[in-house]
């Protein structure tokens, strides 16, 4: 294979990595700051994809679908935090696992009732539908470049919010010492509600972006959830930087695994996780336990 082949696969791997980062960053944010293990995170990805299918179908535009869908996702996140998650902050992780697993079942059933069992496609907006030639026989779909670009923008915005804003300062403080933040007079309940809603919106946004290239189907949430947990475990729980590096590693390993070692492709990422955990049990950027 010529070198361009590997360059295009590199692009494929990075694009997949960006998408994973969007989902995994929300997951790790919730765990790092609120100490919540959220198994329903994948469901929010699925809900985002279905919202974009539903709304873009009605409005005829993916952009309008995303624009209308994001506020709905934020509201859903807020409601779930208020009526379910908020009762469990002081409880053991086992309770959180049970409750969020129940949420998966509820959301799957709701999805079936609302949208049925068929697989759906979402049209790529006309402006991004084409592809650009890279080499003599390789072209690259514009929409996939757009996914990567959108993820870079979101990642930069997250960095800015967390590092430069008052909200980010509270988030960072809350993640290292919850009692201290509370003692300083910050409304931790409100802070948690905001963070949870943002986490849900991040996952839903990832689902909306992925819908045109990944189809929309029942059970899509579970698939992304498992791989997102692998990202979080590799990167170190609670670390955004870890989530980024972990997502890129998995994007690249699974893409190159598919073409270079097809027989091993489905276990390549788990093998990598095992090696990394042997070497650093707390994950690449996790704090030592």
């Amino acid at each position: 294979m010529e070198i361009s082949f590997y360059l295009v696969q590199l692009l494929n791997g990075i694009q997949y990595g960006f998408l994973l980062f969007l989902v995994a960053s929300g997951l790790t944010l919730l765990f790092g700051i609120m100490g919540i293990i959220n198994l329903a995170h994948g469901s929010f990805y699925m809900i985002g994809a279905y919202l974009s299918y539903w709304l873009s179908g009605m409005t005829g535009s993916l952009w309008l679908g995303i624009l209308l869908g994001l506020p709905l996702a934020l509201i859903l996140g807020y409601a779930v935090e208020r009526f379910a998650i908020s009762f469990l902050y002081r409880r053991d992780h086992l309770y959180q696992v049970l409750l969020t697993f129940a949420l998966i079942l509820v959301f799957n059933e709701l999805q079936r009732i609302l949208w049925g069992n068929n697989v759906h496609g979402v049209a790529i907006p006309a402006a991004l539908a084409g592809s650009i030639p890279l080499t003599e026989n390789q072209v690259y779909p514009v929409y996939r470049l757009f996914i990567s670009a959108a993820c870079i923008v979101i990642a930069a915005a997250m960095y800015w919010v967390i590092q430069k804003t008052r909200l980010g300062m509270m988030i960072r403080a809350g993640s290292s010492n919850r009692e201290m933040v509370q003692a300083l007079g910050i409304d931790v309940n409100r802070l948690f509600a905001i963070v949870f809603s943002l986490g849900v919106a991040l996952a839903a946004f990832a689902g909306m972006l992925a819908a045109p290239v990944d189809s929309v189907y029942p059970g899509m949430g579970e698939n992304i959830l498992i791989i997102s947990f692998v990202v979080v475990v590799i990167g170190g729980t609670g670390s955004i930087k870890g989530a980024f590096v972990g997502a890129m590693l998995i994007g690249l390993v699974s893409t190159f695994g598919k073409v270079l070692l097809p027989e091993m492709a489905s276990m390549a990422v788990y093998a990598m996780m095992a090696v990394i955990l042997l070497w650093r049990p707390q994950g690449l950027f996790g704090r030592a336990v």
Binding site: G13, Y16, N117, V213, S215
Partner: protein
Amino acid sequence: MSNEEKKGITRRDLIKGTAATAGLAAASLFVPPRFAIGAQAKVKVGFLLPYTGTYAKLGTFCRDALKLRLAEAGNKLGGREIEFIDVDSEANPAKAPELTNRLIKRDKVDFLIGPVHSGVGMVMVKMARGDQGPITVVTNAGADQLTGSLCAPNIFRTSFSSYQMGYPGGPVMLEDGHKRVALVYWNYGFGKEVAAGFKESFLAGGGTLVKEIATPFPEVDFQAYLTELAALKPDAIYTFYAGGGAAKFVKDFAAAGLKDSIKLYGAGFITEGVLEAQGAAAEGVRTVLHYADTLDIPENHKFRAAFKKATGQEADVYAVQGYDAGELILRGMDAVKGDTGARAEMIRAMEKAEIASPRGKLRFSPSHNPIHDIYLREVVKGENRVIRVAAKDQSDPAEGCSM
């Protein structure tokens, strides 16, 4: 004691007599229905088909078409009234043993019709085969074993085996002038069997397999593979995907810019039921299947009009398979005039059936698998148009079948 026995009717004799009379009365209930006086028992036809889940439409179409065929025949099987028993398989192999058992043991169906999913089919056929099992007609599941190593006198199939899906693809592509071909398919039971059938005929015909890519089921992210295919530059590609995967593959294939340089072929499912979702990306895709909606024969026109009238929907290949199952059990029951006890005679009639199906001529192999023509179709203006007959009277080797 011996003295007593000779005297008239003893108490013991009385008991014996009563028992014998009761036995006779009971036995008369089991006299074959054609000899019965008065009301006949109804023939029980049990469906094990999916009505919820991804395959819901397939199951519904199969059942409705079978009922349509029986309605055309006056809603009688061999002169007897019919009772339908309808069970939702949910296309779930885990639930198949319980549901099959219910139909066979509790409802005691005379005919068992279904399923769609091959996993359910394996369970269903394993439980139904044998001297006591109901006459079973497989109406979709393609697993080779169902009429291969699991074949039995009471098991018939009106759909297809995986082999029949894959094997005709090889000669078709060679005839179209494609010698260097890549094979891409979903890596699970049915996909592997289709791929094996394709390889057998394609390699024997002198073709070269540039690459074989088995992608994990049910993943639909094909980007990495398409990049690889672009680099390999084969003449053409043979594929097996279905449903959402089929819609996605054809769209991604076009988006990756491969549509103009590499001809796309596949087992019929890649363009069945998903043409609308695929849109322009499907134009020019060539597939092999034992049916096409546009097949221009009188039987097909008549069937499509009748199905449309009965259900309000356009028939498809799954409806045809159900319709032919209806015809097959009609033939069996007519031959024995409704006497389900004359099992061997009924099976012989079904084996010999030559059906003028909407798909063309349909017969059955010694293993009870269909023998039918396979068509090469091409998508033109959003329709699967028939290009030519790809394989005349395509049969199946029925590996491992002995009966």
